[in-house]
């Protein structure tokens, strides 16, 4: 299976659904170490992503991701908005005008998303942010492709790695974003952005299965 307009759209649709289903959990994580709005922010941003895709009727999977990113940037309201929004836009641009992106191209797009988030937010791995989910996920995706895996198996590897990355944020002390004000008190909780990232990559694994 290739990553085409249908698959890309299904990914955003599934992401919106799973974030909505987990809205209260994401909000609870953010209430513990931030300001308690991550669930609402992500639900709002992904709903706007879907609305923008429906309006633009993009002709390539790259344009689907760019349209999603614009909707997310416009409506999320929190730090996750410009971060995820820029990530999706850069990922979409990395796909160029391919109508059926290969697993390798999707790997490049995920890498572009990671670079975008790091550049914009300045976070490194270990700072207890969504980067701690995405960085190992990108590495796992590319490794799976290098080992001969297809889009489906590489996406499962990425989702697994993101969930492991999320678990690994628990003992970390936040060094970026609101949670960093808490100092040592941010230790002992999952990072909300790493949690939403794991949901979104699991959605990718499901729509490519």
């Amino acid at each position: 299976m290739a990553f085409d307009v249908q698959t890309a759209t299904a990914w955003i649709t599934a992401s919106e659904a799973v974030v909505k289903a987990n809205e209260a959990r994401l909000t609870g994580l953010d209430a513990a170490i931030g300001d308690g709005d991550h669930g609402a922010n992500m639900a709002r941003g992904l709903a706007a992503a879907l609305a923008n895709i429906a309006e633009k009727e993009p002709a390539t999977p790259g344009d689907v991701l760019v349209a999603a990113g614009r909707g997310i940037v416009a409506k999320t309201g929190g730090a996750s908005g410009p971060l995820y929004g820029t990530a999706f836009r850069r990922a979409g641009k990395a796909l160029g005008d391919a109508t059926e992106a290969t697993a390798e191209q999707v790997g490049d797009a995920l890498e572009a998303a990671l670079t975008a988030i790091k550049e914009l937010g300045g976070a490194a791995e270990g700072d207890k942010t969504m980067v701690d989910g995405l960085a190992p996920a990108v590495a796992a995706f590319r490794q799976a492709v290098a080992d001969g895996g297809d889009l489906a198996s590489a996406s499962v590897a990425a989702a697994d790695a993101a969930e492991a990355g999320l678990a690994a944020t628990v003992p970390l002390q936040a060094r970026k974003g609101r949670a960093s004000y808490l100092g040592a008190r941010s230790v002992g909780h999952e990072d909300p952005g790493a949690a939403s990232l794991a949901l979104i990559l699991r959605a990718l694994a499901e729509v490519t299965a």
Partner: protein, 132 residues
Amino acid sequence: MTVGIVLVSHSPAVAGSVADLAAELAGPSVAIRAAGGTDDGRFGTSIELISAAVRSADSGDGVCVIMDMGSSVLTSKTLVEDLEDEADAPVVRLADAPFAEGAVAAAVLASTGQDLDAVVASAEHAWSMRKL
């Protein structure tokens, strides 16, 4: 020449009240616009509100944007990237400055007719201000 000022805060009330405070000292010659909160008035940030504030503050001499923290900074950076792709976009510079002190310093300096570089520098210089 008058540089415009845009204040981006997570809180609509903080952006608006600091804009009023800066305007009190800078006088009416400077366009100071607040872009606080989300487009539906919650705590947070809206790229559309910032974009509208920047366009409203610009009179052709450029706009100095001052942000409080977190999403205000990340969203303003994203807007600057977007404007790079736009023809005839206003010239926008982000100031790395303490929010209230930078806003007052930038607004007062803009009122003296200095250019965008000088206004941004005065906001950023507010990090080295001490109070006691």
